[in-house]
C-alpha cells in the first residue's frame, strides 16, 4: 500500500473551469453545481426509500426481499451517476465542464455532511442539555464526580493500557520467533494467529464466555475450560470468573488481546522483514548476539511501526463496546465508556449524558489519531 503524502501532486490539467468572467452565468453555473451535487444523493435516497416502503408492505419471501434490496442498493447507485452524466452531456461544453466536479465529489460531501458533520455538531450541543434545557457543563460534572461513571472511566483507561501493551508485546515476540522458521511454516503459524481478526466481537465473546463458564459445586461437572483446569485438574473450588471484581476486567481484556495480537503481529512482521539484511549481517559480524541484534538494530528501525500499531489498537480498544455488552452488560464493575454511552442513551433514555460520554470519547481520540497519522506517513515515506 503506497500512500503518497496528501495533496502531493496537482493533476497536469490545471484549467480552472470555474472562473467564468460573466457574473450572472457564474451564479447560474454555481447554482447548477449545487443542484447537481444534491440530485444524486436525493434521487437515490428517494428511489431506495420507495423500494423499502414497497418491501415493508409486502409479505414476500425473505429471500426475495433480500435479493431485491441488494439489487436496488448495488445497481441503483451506479445507475444514478450514469444518468447524471448523460444529463450533463446534453449541456453546452463549458457549462458541463463546470458542473462535472460537483457530480463526482458532491454526493460524497452531502452524505458526509448529513452522517458525520451535522451529527458531530449536534452531539456537542446535546451534551450541554438535559432534556430540552441548556445546562452547560452539568452532564460533564456528573460524569466526573459520580463514582459509577468514574468506574467506567477507570476501566476504559485500564483497557487502553493493558490490551495494546500485551497485544503488541506478544505480537512482536511471535513475529520475531516466526521469522526464524521456514517460509511455509511461518506463513501457516501467522495465519492461525491472525485468524481471530476475522471473527466478530460478539462471536469472540461467545467463544470466551464458554471458556469462563461456571457451575456452582454440586451442579454437575464444569464444562468451561478454565474451571475444568482450575477445579477439575487442580482440585480447587470452581470460580465464577466473570463475577470476580476487579479481575473480571482482565478476563474481558484477554478477549480483545486474543483478537488484536494477530493484527500487531502481521504489521510488525512485515516491518521486521523490511529491515535490510546487510545491517543485520554487519551487526552479527561485529560479534553481536541475536539478543543484541534485536534490541540495537531491529527494534530501533521498527519503532515507528510499533507506535502506529500501538496507537491503532488504542483507538480500537477505546471504542470497544460489544465485548462488555455481551459478556457482562457492564455489570459487576466492568463497564467502559463506549458501552456506558449506549446504556445511558438507549436504556436510561439519558441523551445528555450519553452525548457527553461520546464527546469525551471523541476528544480523547484526537491526539492519538494525530500521532498515528503522522507516524504512519513517516513510516510510509521511509519505505
Amino acid at each position: 500500500m503506497t500512500t503518497p503524502p496528501i495533496l502531493d501532486q496537482e493533476p497536469a490539467d490545471q484549467r480552472r473551469f470555474g472562473d467564468e468572467a460573466d457574473e450572472a452565468r457564474g451564479i447560474g453555473v454555481a447554482a447548477l453545481r449545487f443542484g447537481a451535487a444534491l440530485v444524486v444523493p436525493i434521487l437515490s435516497f428517494v428511489a431506495l426509500w420507495l423500494t423499502f416502503e414497497f418491501l415493508r408492505n409486502t409479505e414476500a419471501n425473505r429471500l426475495i426481499v433480500v435479493t431485491v434490496a441488494v439489487l436496488v442498493g448495488v445497481v441503483g447507485v451506479w445507475l444514478l451517476y450514469w444518468g447524471m452524466d448523460l444529463v450533463i452531456n446534453q449541456l453546452p461544453d463549458h457549462v458541463a465542464a463546470g458542473i462535472r466536479p460537483a457530480v463526482f465529489v458532491g454526493p460524497a460531501i452531502v452524505v458526509l455532511s448529513v452522517y458525520l458533520v451535522y451529527p458531530a455538531i449536534n452531539t456537542f450541543l446535546i451534551s450541554f442539555k438535559e432534556g430540552d434545557d441548556f445546562v452547560w457543563f452539568k452532564n460533564y460534572g456528573t460524569i466526573f464526580t459520580n463514582s459509577s461513571y468514574l468506574v467506567s472511566i477507570r476501566n476504559s483507561i485500564l483497557w487502553v493500557i493493558v490490551v495494546p501493551a500485551v497485544a503488541v508485546a506478544v505480537g512482536l515476540a511471535f513475529s520475531v520467533l516466526a521469522d526464524k522458521l521456514g517460509k511455509r511454516s511461518e506463513s501457516i503459524a501467522k495465519s492461525l494467529i491472525f485468524l481471530p481478526m476475522a471473527i466478530s466481537f460478539v462471536g469472540a465473546s461467545i467463544v470466551w464466555r464458554f471458556i469462563y463458564s461456571f457451575r456452582p459445586p454440586g451442579f454437575g461437572e464444569q464444562i468451561g475450560l478454565l474451571n475444568g483446569i482450575w477445579s477439575g485438574l487442580l482440585g480447587n473450588e470452581p470460580i465464577a470468573w466473570l463475577l470476580q471484581e476487579p479481575w473480571n476486567n482482565l478476563y474481558l481484556m484477554i478477549i480483545l488481546i486474543w483478537l488484536q495480537t494477530g493484527f500487531a503481529m502481521v504489521i510488525l512482521s512485515s516491518a521486521i522483514k523490511a529491515v535490510p539484511d546487510d545491517l543485520l549481517e554487519a551487526a552479527r559480524i561485529d560479534g553481536a548476539t541475536e539478543w543484541q541484534v534485536f534490541w540495537r538494530v531491529v527494534f530501533p528501525s521498527i519503532s515507528s511501526t510499533i507506535v502506529v500499531v500501538t496507537t491503532t489498537i488504542v483507538i480500537t480498544v477505546w471504542k470497544v463496546f460489544d465485548i462488555v455488552w455481551v459478556m457482562t452488560g457492564g455489570k459487576f464493575g466492568t463497564s467502559v465508556i463506549a458501552e456506558r454511552m449506549i446504556t445511558e442513551f438507549f436504556l436510561f433514555r439519558n441523551a445528555g449524558i450519553g452525548a457527553a460520554l461520546a464527546v469525551i470519547l471523541f476528544i480523547a481520540v484526537i491526539p492519538i489519531m494525530i500521532i498515528n497519522v503522522r507516524k504512519f506517513r513517516q513510516q510510509e515515506a521511509a519505505r
Binding site: I6, P11, R62, P101, A102, L112, A189, K319
Partner: protein, 360 residues
C-alpha cells in the same frame, strides 16, 4: 496467556551460531511458536467441537473429554439445524447479506467518484475539501449515533433563529466581499432576500422548520446502509484518492487527447487500475459491516425478522445463555463467511485491515 511467549522470547538467546546451537535454538523456536499457536487456537477449537456434540454430552462433560474417549457416539448435526430454523439464524444470515453487500458497494461507489474528482479534476476549494474529508476520520461512530437516530425517528428540524443567523452571516459576508471588490451584487441580493424572508417567518411566530422529513426510516435496511456508507466514506475516499492520485498522469492525459471525458476515463481507466485498493477496502468494509453489532442494534432495531446475525447471536446469548449447543453452533455460523473470506483472500484481507484499522 502471555507469560509463555515472553519467557520464550527471552530464552532464545543464541550465541554465534555453531551447528549444534543452531539446531537447538531452532527446536526451541519451533516449540515456542507451537505453544502460542495452540493457545490461540484452543478457544475456537472448543467452540467447534462443542457445536457438533449432543446437548446431553455438552452438559455433562467438558469438550476436551472427546479426545480421551473417541469411540463414543455423541456427535450430531442437530445443533445446526436447530439454530438455523428455530433460532432464526437462517433468516439472520440472509439479513446480514442484505445489509452487508449494499453497505460495501454504495460507499465504494460514492468514494470512487469523489476520489477521482479529488485526484484528477480541478475545481475551487479542492484541497481544502479533501483535507476536511480526511479530518473526519477522527470522528468516532459514537458521535453520530444519537443525532442520526433522532433524524430517522422524528426528522430534522432547525430553529428559525438559527436559520436566520446563518443567512444573516452569509449576507454580511457577501457585503464584505462586494466592498473588497471580490464578488458580485447577486449573492448579496440573494442572501439578503432570503434573510428578510426568514426574518418574516420568524416574526410571524414559527419556531422551527423541517429540513429533513420524518420518514420513519429506523428499522429498515436502508437506514443501516446509509449509516455504514457515511461512516465508511472518509477512509474510503482517503485510500482511493491516494491511490488514484499516484496513477501516472500521462495515461489520463492521453485518454483526454483521445477525446474521452471524465466519466469514460473514470470507468474505463481509473476503476480498472485501482482494483487492488478497491478490493482491499471492499474486504475491510465487508468484514466491518458483517461483524458490526452497534450500528445494527441502533438503526435496525429489535424486530426479529430484520435481525442480522450478530444481533441474533446477542439475542440468543441473553435469552438462552446456557444453551451451549445453540450458542456454539450459532457463533460458528456467524464466523463461517468472514473466515472463508479470510482464507480465500488473505493478501487483500491483510492489506485492507492494515489500511482500514483506524476507521472510526
Amino acid at each position: 496467556m502471555t507469560a509463555p511467549t515472553e519467557q520464550m522470547a527471552e530464552t532464545y538467546v543464541p550465541e554465534q551460531p555453531g551447528l549444534l546451537a543452531r539446531i537447538f535454538s531452532r527446536w526451541q523456536v519451533k516449540l515456542a511458536v507451537t505453544i502460542i499457536v495452540v493457545l490461540w487456537l484452543i478457544p475456537t477449537l472448543g467452540l467447534l467441537v462443542t457445536s457438533f456434540r449432543a446437548t446431553q454430552a455438552i452438559n455433562t462433560s467438558g469438550w476436551w473429554t472427546v479426545f480421551t474417549n473417541i469411540g463414543n457416539n455423541e456427535w450430531t448435526l442437530s445443533n445446526y439445524t436447530d439454530v438455523l430454523s428455530r433460532a432464526g439464524f437462517g433468516n439472520s444470515f440472509l439479513n446480514s447479506l442484505a445489509v452487508t453487500i449494499p453497505s460495501t458497494v454504495i460507499p465504494i461507489t460514492i468514494a470512487a467518484f469523489a476520489a477521482y474528482g479529488f485526484a484528477w479534476m480541478s475545481f475551487r476549494g479542492r484541497n481544502l475539501m479533501f483535507v476536511l474529508v480526511v479530518a473526519l476520520l477522527v470522528v468516532p461512530l459514537q458521535m453520530a449515533l444519537i443525532p442520526i437516530l433522532r433524524l430517522y425517528t422524528s426528522g430534522g428540524h432547525l430553529a428559525v433563529w438559527m436559520l436566520f443567523g446563518v443567512f444573516l452571516a452569509a449576507t454580511i459576508a457577501a457585503a464584505v466581499f462586494l466592498m473588497r471588490g471580490k464578488g458580485g451584487v447577486i449573492p448579496l441580493v440573494v442572501f439578503g432576500v432570503i434573510t428578510v424572508a426568514v426574518g418574516i417567518v420568524w416574526l410571524s411566530g414559527t419556531e422551527s422548520v423541517t429540513i429533513f422529513p420524518d420518514l420513519n426510516l429506523n428499522g429498515t435496511f436502508l437506514a443501516v446502509w446509509l449509516a455504514h456508507t457515511g461512516f465508511g466514506l472518509p477512509l474510503a475516499i482517503y485510500l482511493l484518492r491516494n491511490y488514484m492520485g499516484s496513477l501516472p498522469s500521462s495515461i489520463v492525459e492521453s485518454a483526454e487527447i483521445d477525446g474521452a471525458d471524465h466519466f469514460k476515463i473514470f470507468t474505463r481507466l481509473a476503476i480498472p487500475l485501482s482494483v487492488p485498493v478497491l478490493a482491499s477496502f471492499a474486504i475491510f468494509q465487508f468484514l466491518w459491516v458483517w461483524n458490526d453489532l452497534l450500528v445494527a442494534i441502533i438503526f435496525l432495531g429489535g424486530e426479529p425478522q430484520n435481525r442480522v446475525i450478530t444481533q441474533a447471536l446477542m439475542e440468543l446469548n441473553s435469552s438462552r445463555g446456557n444453551e451451549w449447543q445453540l450458542l456454539t453452533a450459532g457463533a460458528f455460523i456467524s464466523m463461517m463467511l468472514p473466515v472463508a473470506v479470510f482464507f480465500a483472500l488473505q493478501r487483500f484481507f491483510v492489506r485492507g485491515l492494515t489500511a482500514g484499522s483506524v476507521k472510526g
